[in-house]
């Protein structure tokens, strides 16, 4: 606590502004998403076809879409849907990737095999693979989560492996070994706590990636099926109304941009604080 308080008092450290802006944007996004579960201005699935394509403030805060649904409400519930898929996908990637990464750092034999698998996964373009997966499993939340999550495993595996290898080279690891601790115990007690900061940074940045990919999949019709609103599908449906009702594309477009920007800034700000290499550099 005291350490954190002390750090906070040192004003305008590198990363402070990004951290603040990123934190506020992300907190707002999460707050909106959670609020949508208990309250939205309208039922986001309710159609009032005769009230279609109304402009912002004419009907509701952000107007209505081509089927007369309230855009603000859809945007709010869309935030929840996007975040849920993104969080689940990143959780899959982070847990499996971190496990693979620390295992690779601990066992040289394992390392070679694992990193080649990661290379192979890296070679596949995620959106294209997600389309293939969608064709196999049928579109839906699970497909999106698996498709995005699987391609995050190598990202996390690489980051964790690199960081963990550095820790393994430290003297206190040698000391722990001397004290008779096994590989698993050292990993749990010394390696993981020391690389946690870098994993958290990576989680934030990958969340932004996941939101973007989820929007892409929904845009292509491979995300959550209707009536669940998603930003990607809102954007896809707004395409042909671009001239008549530009707000239909602007609203989800700006939402995606804000979410990605917020999470990226948060990630950058956190990196300046938590990543030992960048902490030294600054």
């Amino acid at each position: 606590m005291t350490v954190l308080a002390l750090r906070a008092r040192r004003a305008w450290r590198p990363g402070s502004v990004t951290l603040l802006v990123g934190g506020v944007l992300t907190a707002f996004l999460v707050a909106v998403a959670l609020t949508s579960l208990v309250w939205t201005p309208e039922d986001p699935a309710r159609m009032r076809i005769l009230q279609k394509l109304k402009g912002p403030l004419v009907s509701g805060l952000l107007g209505t879409d081509h089927l007369g649904r309230d855009v603000a409400s859809m945007l709010m519930r869309g935030a929840f849907n996007s975040l849920t898929v993104a969080f689940a996908a990143v959780a899959v990637g982070a847990v499996l990737g971190t496990l693979a990464g620390v295992a690779a750092a601990a066992r040289a034999g394992f390392d070679a095999v694992l990193m080649r698998i990661c290379d192979a996964l890296f070679a596949l373009p995620p959106i294209l693979s997600a389309i293939m997966l969608g064709a196999l499993l049928g579109p839906g939340a699970l497909t999106a989560i698996i498709a995005i999550g699987v391609f995050m495993i190598p990202v996390f595996a690489r980051v964790t492996r690199g960081a963990a290898l550095q820790i393994w080279a430290r003297d206190y690891i040698m000391a722990a070994r001397m004290a008779g601790k096994g590989t698993a115990r050292i990993t749990l007690e010394h390696v993981l706590p020391n690389i946690a900061g870098q994993i958290i940074v990576q989680v934030t940045i990958q969340l932004a990636m996941a939101i973007l990919t989820e929007a892409g999949l929904s845009f292509l019709g491979l995300g959550l099926p209707p009536p669940a609103p998603t930003w990607g599908r809102m954007l896809a449906e707004a395409q042909t109304y671009l001239l008549q009702a530009p707000h239909l594309a602007l609203a989800p477009g700006l939402a995606i941009a804000a979410a990605v920007l917020g999470l990226n800034l948060l990630g950058d700000g956190l990196a300046a604080r938590l990543d030992p290499r960048r902490r030294q550099a600054s």
Binding site: L67, G221, P225, T240
Partner: protein, 500 residues
């Protein structure tokens, strides 16, 4: 380049007009650029089903023994007249003389026999083969006479012979028609740049002096994106778009004086087919209840910007003998709920809906979902890729509860008697009526039978009859001669011309 030259010419002409009073200004244009949303996979309408094939070549490059005109009526074409025997089993056609194919081959009774035999051959891949199965024998007693013998009477035969699938082809060019169409029409094929355009030029020696064409050159351009299509029209890159793919962009053209935009009707019947062979749609009451849960007018407003016409059976206002049956099960959510309760679904009903990805289909799906929710029915939408996956799962495997598709073929009400077919609908009374309609040679009796067939479907609701897709055509105000409605999917350009 062409347009720049044209502009120079025009400037020159204007200058000349100023300098020399009384000199005629530029003559009307004789070229046309026509836009289509989908490129055909080939150009032979006798060997593949997509209607876009006929929309390029039918009546322009290829002609038939008869033709269906803009009002859906049968007119003579390569057959100048015919006589039908009293028992309705023998058709004797008198053929036009002096007709040549674009490759110089002559058209006569032997060629006509070849073309009809090719449709009926065992290995034929003709998309409408079933329509011509009643033809038992084709004889060519002399070059100007063709005699068809039928196995049973077929009141629609002359109409079927006027469709794109029955155009006249000749043996020498037959195998290459997909890439190089060779017909007897007023335009001949010039070039095809894949992914971009097909060009036709006027045939110098077309036989039909009564129908003189006005255009010298026609370019079909394929523009899939609706925004790009609208932009191409406004920029003048395209002179006409007979089927604008996005209804939401249409209103702007209707207001624009530079364009003619009058919505007509196609033959595309949008119906939500149900699996009548399984629960819960085996119960007629469930189907009727869902029909009453749908506000068709509102659905058209949401799914197609209000263009198109609501239907109550599998028949369009273009078709002869049409009956407006939208009042048989009108929108009435209260009655729908009561009928569902009577059928044992008082506590609600849950099923899945396989939705193809076309805009009209996915919008219809979302709206139906919302309308069904009002009567306590939960419909889960499963987006299903069209055509491959949808055709496999719905048409072949018949593993679905409900789906939606636009049926494009004109006068295809008899598909509900097909067994097997994806609706899984079985009603001997309906089968008897459509057979009667198909075999009646007396027009009044035939239309009466078709009326009864429409009524049976409206009562039984094997599919939710929703609406007919509109023909949202746009062309430059100075053009005339296009079809407003589309009794046959086509772009017949024989009467199209520039007025100045």
């Amino acid at each position: 380049m062409v347009s720049r030259t044209r502009r120079h010419l025009l400037t020159g002409a204007l200058l000349a007009a100023l300098l020399v009073p009384g000199l005629a200004v530029a003559a009307p244009r004789t070229d046309l650029v026509l836009g289509m949303p989908v490129e055909p996979p080939g150009l032979d309408p006798t060997s593949a089903a997509p209607t876009v094939i006929g929309q390029v070549v039918w009546q322009n490059v290829f002609e038939g023994l008869t033709r269906v005109d803009r009002d859906g009526k049968v007119q003579p074409q390569l057959a100048k007249s015919w006589a039908v025997s009293p028992d309705g089993l023998t058709y004797t056609f008198a053929l036009q003389a002096g007709v040549k194919f674009h490759n110089g081959e002559a058209f006569d009774a032997a060629t006509a026999k070849f073309a009809l035999d090719a449709i009926r051959a065992p290995g034929s891949v003709n998309p409408q083969k079933a329509l011509y199965a009643v033809i038992a024998d084709v004889k060519a007693p002399d070059p100007a006479t063709l005699v068809l013998t039928l196995s049973k009477p077929s009141g629609n035969l002359l109409f079927w012979l006027g469709l794109p699938a029955a155009v006249m082809v000749e043996p020498k060019s037959r195998d290459g028609l997909k890439a190089i169409p060779v017909g007897t029409g007023p335009f001949r094929f010039a070039s095809w740049r894949k992914g971009d355009r097909v060009e036709l030029t006027r045939s110098p020696d077309h036989w039909d002096s009564a129908r003189k064409v006005h255009l010298d050159k026609v370019t079909f351009r394929f523009i899939g994106d609706p925004q790009a299509a609208a932009a191409a029209l406004r920029a003048g890159d395209v002179d006409a778009f007979p089927l604008l793919p996005a209804p939401e962009l249409y209103a702007a053209f209707q207001k624009d004086k530079a364009f003619t935009a009058e919505p007509g009707l196609t033959e595309m019947k949008v119906v939500a087919g149900m699996n009548n062979a399984a629960k819960p749609f085996g119960d007629k009451r469930v189907r009727q209840a869902l029909m009453m849960a749908v506000d068709r007018k509102l659905l058209v407003e949401g799914a197609y910007s209000g263009y198109g016409a609501a239907i109550g059976s599998h028949y369009t206002p273009n078709d002869p003998g049409y009956r407006d049956l939208t009042g048989v099960y009108p929108y009435d959510p209260k009655k729908a709920k009561a009928l569902l309760a009577e059928a044992g679904y008082a506590k609600g009903l849950t099923f899945t809906f396989k939705s193809p990805q076309m805009a009209y289909a996915s919008r219809t799906a979302e709206i139906l979902q919302a309308m069904f929710a009002e009567v306590g029915v939960t419909m889960t939408i499963v987006p299903t890729e069209f055509p491959a996956k949808w055709v496999q799962e719905v048409m072949r495997d018949r593993s679905f509860d409900m789906t939606v598709i636009a049926h494009a073929e004109p006068m295809d009400i008899a598909i509900y008697s097909n067994d097997p077919y994806y609706f899984g609908y079985k009603n001997p009374a309906f089968n008897a009526v459509v057979t009667e309609a198909a075999q009646a040679t007396d027009e009044a009796a035939r239309l009466k039978a078709y009326g009864e067939a429409q009524q049976i479907l409206a009562d039984d609701v094997p599919a939710l009859f929703l609406f007919v897709l509109p023909k949202l055509s746009v062309w430059k105000a100075k053009l005339t001669g296009f079809w407003k409605n589309e009794p046959v999917p086509s772009n017949d350009l024989t009467e199209v011309r520039w007025t100045e």
